[in-house]
C-alpha cells in the first residue's frame, strides 16, 4: 500500500477526557473484579460453602490396613428389607470425634488409623480373660450379615448391612462371674493415630457401656465389616459395637478393651452432658433431646422426615428388657 502520510484526521484522535475515563473504567473494572472475587472467596471460605465434600467416593484404601477386604458371612436374623444406605454415605457421613467433629472428618482423617496389629482385651469380672488379635476377630466366631437400622441421636438414620458376630458369643467365652452386671467398652487412645483425641471436646478415651442383659441380647453385635468387606476406618475399624435399638453414639468404635463390671461405667457422652445423653440411650420418639425433637428422623437419602419408632423398631425384641422401668427417667 502506498503511504498516505503520517497524519490522522483530528476527529480520529481520542479526546483526553474520553481516554482518561476509559482508563478509569478499566481500572474500576479491575477493582470491581478483584473486590468481588475477594469478598466472594472469603465468604465461601468462612461459610464452608466451598469445599470438596465427603459423601464422595468411599476411601477403599482406608480399610483395615493391608487386610484382605472381602468377608464371608451368612445372612443373620433380624434383617430389614428397607433400602440400604449407600456405602458412600455410610462411610462418608458419620460421627467419630476421634477424627474430628464434622460429619466429613472421619472419612477425611481416618487414614492414620492402623488396624493391624490390633488386640482386644476382655477382662474384669470374668473367669477367662481373653486377648483377641485381628485374625481372631475375623475367624474365631461365625460371621453373620445383619441389616440394621441405625438411628443417630441427631435425628438422622441409615440402614446398614453389618458383618459381625453376637457380642454374647464373645462374652460367653470369657465367662462373666456372677458379680458382673455391666460391660464397659473402651476405644483406642492414641492421638498420633486419632488426631481428634488431641482436642478436648470429650474426655478421651471414649467409653461406652451396656447392662449385661443388653450386652447378651441376640441383637447386640460386634461388627467387623459392612457391605461385605472389612470395616472402613471411618466406621470404627477393626471392631465396633452395634446396638440397633439405641442411639448411634452407644455403638463405640475401634474397641481395644471390653471389661465386665459390677457398677455401670461412666460413659463418655453421659459424662459430657448428663441431661442430654443417658446411659440407656434407647431410641424413643416420646423422650425428646432437650434441644430437639426425637419424634421424627430423616433417613439419609430422603428429603422427607419419617416417624421415629420406639426402640428404633426393635421393640418386639427388646422392650421386655425394660419392663417396669420409667424410660423418661432412664433415658
Amino acid at each position: 500500500m502506498p503511504s498516505t502520510g503520517p497524519t490522522l484526521p483530528a476527529s480520529e484522535i481520542t479526546p483526553e477526557s474520553v481516554y482518561a475515563s476509559r482508563r478509569k473504567f478499566i481500572g474500576d473494572a479491575v477493582r470491581f473484579t478483584a473486590t468481588a472475587a475477594g469478598v466472594g472467596g472469603g465468604l465461601l471460605w468462612a461459610t464452608h460453602t466451598w469445599r470438596t465434600r465427603a459423601g464422595t467416593p468411599p476411601r477403599r484404601a482406608a480399610g483395615a490396613g493391608g487386610a484382605p477386604g472381602a468377608l464371608e458371612a451368612r445372612p443373620g436374623p433380624f434383617g430389614t428389607d428397607e433400602a440400604r444406605t449407600p456405602l458412600e454415605a455410610v462411610s462418608g457421613y458419620n460421627n467419630f470425634y476421634e477424627f474430628g467433629t464434622t460429619k466429613e472428618s472421619p472419612a477425611r482423617e481416618s487414614r492414620s488409623l492402623r488396624t493391624r496389629p490390633w488386640t482386644v482385651r476382655v477382662g474384669g469380672l470374668v473367669a477367662r480373660p481373653l486377648e483377641l488379635d485381628a485374625d481372631d476377630l475375623t475367624r474365631k466366631y461365625p460371621l453373620e450379615e445383619r441389616v440394621y437400622r441405625m438411628r443417630c441421636v441427631e435425628a438422622w438414620s441409615m440402614v446398614i448391612p453389618w458383618i459381625g458376630f453376637p457380642l454374647a458369643a464373645l462374652l460367653r467365652d470369657a465367662q462373666p462371674t456372677s458379680d458382673a452386671r455391666h460391660v464397659a467398652f473402651t476405644t483406642l487412645m492414641d492421638p498420633a493415630q486419632m488426631p481428634g483425641e488431641r482436642v478436648p471436646v470429650l474426655d478421651w478415651p471414649y467409653v461406652e457401656g451396656l447392662r449385661l442383659d443388653e450386652a447378651m441380647h441376640p441383637l447386640t453385635l460386634l461388627a467387623i465389616g459392612l457391605y461385605g468387606r472389612v470395616l472402613p476406618n471411618p466406621n470404627g475399624a477393626p471392631i465396633r459395637l452395634v446396638v440397633p435399638w439405641k442411639y448411634g453414639f452407644k455403638g463405640i468404635k475401634s474397641i481395644v478393651k471390653i471389661e465386665l463390671t459390677r457398677e455401670p461405667p461412666r460413659t463418655t457422652w453421659s459424662e459430657a452432658a448428663p441431661d442430654e445423653y443417658g446411659y440407656y440411650a434407647n431410641v424413643n420418639p416420646k423422650v425428646d433431646h432437650p434441644r430437639w425433637s426425637q419424634a421424627t428422623e430423616r433417613r439419609i437419602g430422603d428429603l422427607d422426615r419419617r416417624p421415629t419408632l420406639p426402640f428404633n423398631g426393635y421393640a418386639e425384641q427388646v422392650a421386655g428388657l425394660y419392663a417396669g422401668m420409667d424410660l423418661r427417667k432412664n433415658f
Binding site: D28, A29, R31, F32, T33, A34, T35, A36, A37, G38, V39, G40, G41, G42, L43, L44, A46, T47, H48, T49, W50, R53, A54, G55, T85, E88, A89, G92, Y93, Y97, T101, K103, E104, E154, W156, V199, V201, L202, A272, A273, R291, W292, S293, A295, T296, R298, I300, G301, L303, D304, R305
Partner: protein
C-alpha cells in the same frame, strides 16, 4: 475519601455476597451437599447470615479504628444480606426441613431454646431490614432509628446462642463468632465513651 469515589465497591461486594448462595445452589443441584443435604444447606445458610451480621457490625468500628470512611457505606448492603440469608435459612428450615408442618414448627418455636433463640434473632432482623431505607431513617428521625437499630446486637447475641446450642459439643466455631461480636460491641462502647469524654472536656 467519600464512598462515591469508589463506584465499583458496592456492586463488587454485592456480587461477592451472592457467592455462598451460588455455591449452595450449585452443590444442591449437583449432589454435592453430602449425605444430608438439607442439614448441610441449613447450616451453611445460617452461618452465612451470621457472617454478614458480624461483617455489618464491623463497618463502624473499621471506619473509626482503621480510618476507612468508605467501610460504613457498605453497612446497609451487608446488613440486608444478613437478613436475606437469614430468610433463606428460616425458609429452608420451615419449608424443606419441616416440610411446612406447622405443628412441628410451632412445637419447636415454643419449646426449644435453640429454635427460640434463632427465631427471635430472625424476628428482630425483620423491622431492621424494613427500616433500612433513607426514607425510613427520615420518617423515624435519626435518633429513634439509631436506637431501633441497636437491636442488631441483640440479634447477633441470639444468633450466637442459637449456634452454640445447635452444635453437640464442639463450640469452637460459635465461640469465634461470639468473641468477634463481643470485640465489635466493646469497640463501639469504647468509641462512645471516648466521644463522651471529649464532649465533656470541650464543655
Amino acid at each position: 475519601m467519600a464512598p462515591r469515589r469508589r463506584p465499583w465497591l458496592k456492586p463488587a461486594v454485592f456480587a461477592g455476597a451472592l457467592a455462598p448462595l451460588a455455591a449452595i445452589l450449585w452443590n444442591a443441584t449437583h449432589g454435592n451437599l453430602g449425605a444430608n443435604p438439607v442439614a448441610e444447606a441449613l447450616n451453611e445458610l445460617g452461618l452465612t447470615a451470621l457472617v454478614f451480621l458480624v461483617a455489618s457490625l464491623a463497618c463502624t468500628p473499621v471506619r473509626e479504628v482503621l480510618d476507612w470512611p468508605w467501610a460504613v457505606g457498605l453497612r446497609r448492603t451487608l446488613g440486608l444480606f444478613a437478613f436475606f440469608y437469614a430468610l433463606l435459612h428460616a425458609a429452608t428450615y420451615s419449608l424443606v426441613d419441616q416440610r411446612g408442618n406447622l405443628r412441628a414448627i410451632f412445637a419447636d418455636v415454643t419449646k426449644r431454646p435453640f429454635i427460640i433463640a434463632g427465631f427471635s434473632a430472625f424476628l428482630i432482623l425483620i423491622p431492621l431490614a424494613a427500616t433500612s431505607t433513607a426514607n425510613a431513617v427520615r420518617r423515624l428521625g435519626f435518633p429513634r432509628w439509631k436506637r431501633l437499630h441497636r437491636l442488631v446486637y441483640l440479634a447477633g447475641g441470639l444468633a450466637i446462642v442459637h449456634f452454640v446450642l445447635r452444635v453437640k459439643k464442639d463450640v469452637r466455631e460459635p465461640v469465634v463468632y461470639g468473641v468477634l461480636l463481643g470485640i465489635l460491641l466493646l469497640t463501639r462502647v469504647a468509641l462512645w465513651a471516648k466521644r463522651r469524654a471529649a464532649r465533656a472536656a470541650a464543655a
